[in-house]
């Protein structure tokens, strides 16, 4: 391959890895940091009513999806009731049963989260999706008494207002803080609750033929049991919809407001029962954003997710968690050998030792390794006098290594040093070969070379371990395995590095300087 073609190929690999990672981060919402959390609310609606011994039909409006929150999963607790979920513009749960008597409780539970910045590239949605062109509301059903009072109030408000926007604003202000006027007192009567005020407001808006909708929702402020709906009214002021809180007169959606139902029919229709009551409880939990992302945030999943490692059974995922770290160790090894210039005994021995360090931690691991290899070398020097052939001799070393590991485990267990038990994580065969290689090196090239290679290997193992052990690296390699393409590109690049190694600058330091 031509060098320029090679460079283009390596560049493509590198940016493919980075690009896929950014795609998963920006579009699919995988966080780049481990432990990033998303606020998830568990919202439970409890419906109680008294069944009257005949067929019961109950229709309950479900939160619309998507509004300002995303739904993760929904659970229905139906008891003996049959359940049919009606999908369409308005979702409703329809429970029914042939006959029932006495108190009945049904549950609907949903977990919902709000998308944070970054996920799907959208920011927090504080506004509702735009609705189609408004229709004029039907005239309100009012008693003559109420109608007279309402018309008087309307005329009073109209006198002060210029358009439907100001009319609505004045109306809500008047409802919150009624002027000293018999018409207002007659209109409100004893009605003072938020829900009743909202009804009065809707009647008034209908009377004036101003398009409006009722919004039912929950204020997710803290964990709550037996909470109830908060009512907001959306008014069309001629150009656009504006959300108004009839209790405070504030416009716009309140913070942390979970919209349950926007306009539409009643919230609960019940046939064959009475005394129905809906109450809500909600608790906030935090889930790792990565977990939500790999479930596609409750949406239809992206093909990239279907082919990610998260699609594997948990056991295999664990295997890959370790496997995916090996390339990182290999990158560290390649860098230290070819750019820095440290030589090691056995090409990949340091990586395998580094993997063992994952279990033993560095210091105990180093101590265990040096003890096993040191004692192994002593025994090996005795073995070398026995005139053994190669394969039997290495096999003998393997046995010795296993005996040493057993002795170390037992001794450290008895001494209460449980760390010592982790010696079993060292790969036995690798230890045996390390002992064999170092021993031959010692005999033929002297202790200087043997120590140099031994410590070179340990140095690489420790450095590789620190790279592989970083929580960030562990997380990134598993959540974004496509980063391995970039790692591969880096390894290929170092493979073509023809410059000086750092230690060669030391080796050739005595070179006579050019004039």
């Amino acid at each position: 391959m031509k060098y320029s073609a090679f460079r283009i190929f390596v560049g493509l690999l590198f940016f493919a890895g980075i690009g896929l990672t950014l795609y998963k981060n920006q579009v699919l919402g995988f966080p780049l940091r481990p432990g990033e959390q998303t606020e998830v609310w568990e919202i439970e609606a409890r419906i109680d009513f008294e069944a009257m011994g005949e067929a019961v039909r109950l229709s309950f409006a479900l939160p619309e999806d998507p509004l300002n929150f995303e739904l993760l999963e929904e659970v229905y607790v139906s008891g003996p009731f049959g359940l049919e979920v009606e999908r369409g513009d308005l979702r409703r749960a329809n429970w029914s049963i042939q006959a029932a008597e006495g108190p009945v409780t049904l549950f609907y539970r949903a977990s919902a989260y709000r998308e944070t910045a970054g996920a799907r590239g959208s920011s927090r949605r504080d506004t509702l999706p735009v609705l189609d062109a408004p229709e004029a509301p039907p005239p309100p059903f009012l008693t003559d008494f109420d109608r007279t009072a309402a018309e008087a109030v309307r005329d009073d408000l109209l006198a002060q207002s210029s358009d439907s926007g100001t009319f609505a604003a004045l109306l809500f202000q008047a409802l919150r803080d009624p002027p000293e006027n018999s018409n207002y007192a007659a209109l409100l009567g004893t009605r003072a609750s938020a829900r009743e005020l909202a009804e009065v407001a809707r009647d008034m808006l209908a009377l004036q033929e101003i398009p409006h909708r009722l919004i039912r929702g929950l204020v997710l402020e803290q964990d709550q049991r037996r909470g109830s709906f908060k009512f907001l009214i959306e008014v069309f002021d001629g150009d656009r919809w504006e959300v108004i809180d009839p209790e405070t007169g504030e416009t716009g959606l309140p913070p942390d407001f979970f919209v349950w139902q926007r306009g539409g029919r009643s919230n609960l229709d019940l046939e064959g029962g009475r005394g129905s009551e809906v109450s809500f409880s909600f608790i906030q939990t935090n889930l790792p954003t990565a977990m939500l992302a790999r479930n596609g945030f409750g949406r239809e999943s992206d093909p990239i997710l279907d082919f990610s490692l998260y699609a594997l059974p948990i056991g295999e995922q664990g295997v890959f968690k370790t496997l995916l770290l090996i390339p990182i160790g290999a990158l560290a090894l390649v860098f230290i050998r070819n750019v820095i210039g440290v030589s090691t005994s056995g090409t990949f021995m340091p990586i395998l030792i580094a993997i063992a360090f994952q279990e033993t931690n560095v210091l105990p691991g180093l101590v265990l390794f040096i003890v096993v290899v040191g004692v192994g070398l002593l025994i090996r020097s005795w073995l070398s006098r026995l005139n053994l052939l190669l394969v039997p001799r290495i096999s003998a070393v393997v046995v010795v290594v296993i005996l040493l590991m057993a002795a170390l485990s037992i001794a450290s267990h008895k001494l209460g040093l449980e760390r010592g038990l982790t010696v079993t994580f060292f790969p036995t065969i690798i230890l045996a070969w390390t002992i064999e290689r170092l021993s031959i090196l010692w005999e033929e090239h002297g202790q200087r070379e043997a120590l140099k290679l031994g410590f070179g290997s340990l140095l690489v193992a420790v450095v590789a371990h620190f790279f592989m052990d970083a929580a960030m690296v562990k997380y990134l390699t598993f959540a974004f395995p496509e980063l391995l393409l970039s790692v591969l590109a880096l390894i290929l690049m170092i493979g073509q590095y023809s410059g000086y190694r750092l230690l060669e600058l030391h080796r050739f330091r005595g070179f006579p300087k050019a004039e």
Partner: protein
């Protein structure tokens, strides 16, 4: 103040060739993989050399199978001096030199006495692949010991020196004497403390030396300055080295030579991955010389012509 590191710029200016570039540009670029066995298997090298009439130490015998180890004395009968070495050994591993014999007791070069049993063990180890690359099974070669020419042998107090010539595309590019020392236990291996002494291609005169990557001017054992050394049979040595290219066609080749008292220069070993210390020994980078030789175009001359061209080219460089 002692300087621990030099700069890449200084090395580049000196044209120092380093490991990465040697591997990528010269070993991968000029040494065809399929030709490696010719040099990695010394038995093969010896056969090729003998066929091409290149002088090399005589082959006494080959031990291929373990059952032959018990009958090692049969092969050794009549020989008091010999060398046992692995056919596929690397970096001088597993070479045993016997300089004398009393019945079944053998004398090593340093006076150590070995029983027949330890000789057999050494041979068995060789067959099992202890010294070969990757531990693959190997065979043991027994070859005649070289009676070193006096001037040549006198260079070392322990063991025997050899001459390493770096041959690039058939042209000698640089040469170095490797002199064993007390520190290297008589082995001509620079890693173990042997001294490398640069030899001028043009006239065969030695210049400075290097031991453990440090520049030295005097022989560490004799205290005599290196620049008093000059090589006899210089032309013959270089031509022999260059001819090694003709039998292997390896473009970047290290040729190890020794001088026998009666038979003159001999090829001891070939190496397809020659080391870089030769530059330190000569106080001179390889790159400018290799670039010049690269520019020569296709190799058509015979070894003698190549040697005289290279000697002319690198005169006083």
């Amino acid at each position: 103040m002692k300087q621990w590191f030099t700069t890449p710029r200084a090395l580049k200016r000196m044209g120092v060739l380093a490991m990465n570039r040697r591997n990528i540009e010269f070993i991968f670029g000029y040494n065809e993989r399929s030709r490696y066995p010719m040099v990695d298997d010394k038995l093969e090298t010896k056969r090729l050399a003998e066929a091409a009439n290149l002088k090399t130490p005589p082959l006494i015998g080959v031990v291929k199978y373990h059952y032959e180890v018990a009958k090692l004395t049969d092969k050794l009968s009549g020989y008091d001096e010999f060398v046992i070495k692995p056919s596929k050994g690397s970096a001088g591993k597993g070479i045993l030199v016997i300089t004398g014999r009393e019945g079944n007791t053998f004398l090593k070069g340093n006076g150590e006495r070995l029983s027949l049993k330890s000789l057999q063990r050494h041979t068995a180890n060789i067959l099992s692949g202890l010294h070969s690359l990757g531990g693959q099974p190997d065979c043991a070669m027994i070859e005649g010991r070289i009676h070193f020419a006096e001037n040549f042998a006198a260079l070392a107090a322990h063991g025997v020196p050899d001459l390493r010539v770096l041959v690039f595309r058939g042209y000698p590019a640089m040469a170095m004497l490797r002199i064993p020392t007390k520190a290297s236990d008589g082995k001509a291996n620079l890693h173990q403390g042997a001294v490398g002494v640069g030899v001028d291609l043009a006239n065969g005169h030695a210049s400075g030396g290097v031991q453990f990557n440090k520049l030295i001017k005097k022989h560490p054992d004799f205290d005599s300055p290196f620049n008093e050394i000059w090589m006899e049979n210089w032309e013959e040595l270089l031509v022999l080295a260059s001819r090694a290219y003709d039998i292997t066609k390896l473009g970047y080749l290290g040729v190890d030579l020794v001088i026998d008292a009666r038979h003159g220069p001999q090829v001891l070993e070939l190496n397809a991955r020659p080391g870089l210390a030769i530059q330190l020994a000569n106080g001179c980078g390889l790159l400018p010389r290799l670039e010049k030789l690269k520019a020569l175009g296709a190799v058509t001359e015979d070894a003698a012509a190549r040697v005289s061209r290279a000697r002319e080219m690198f005169r006083g460089v």
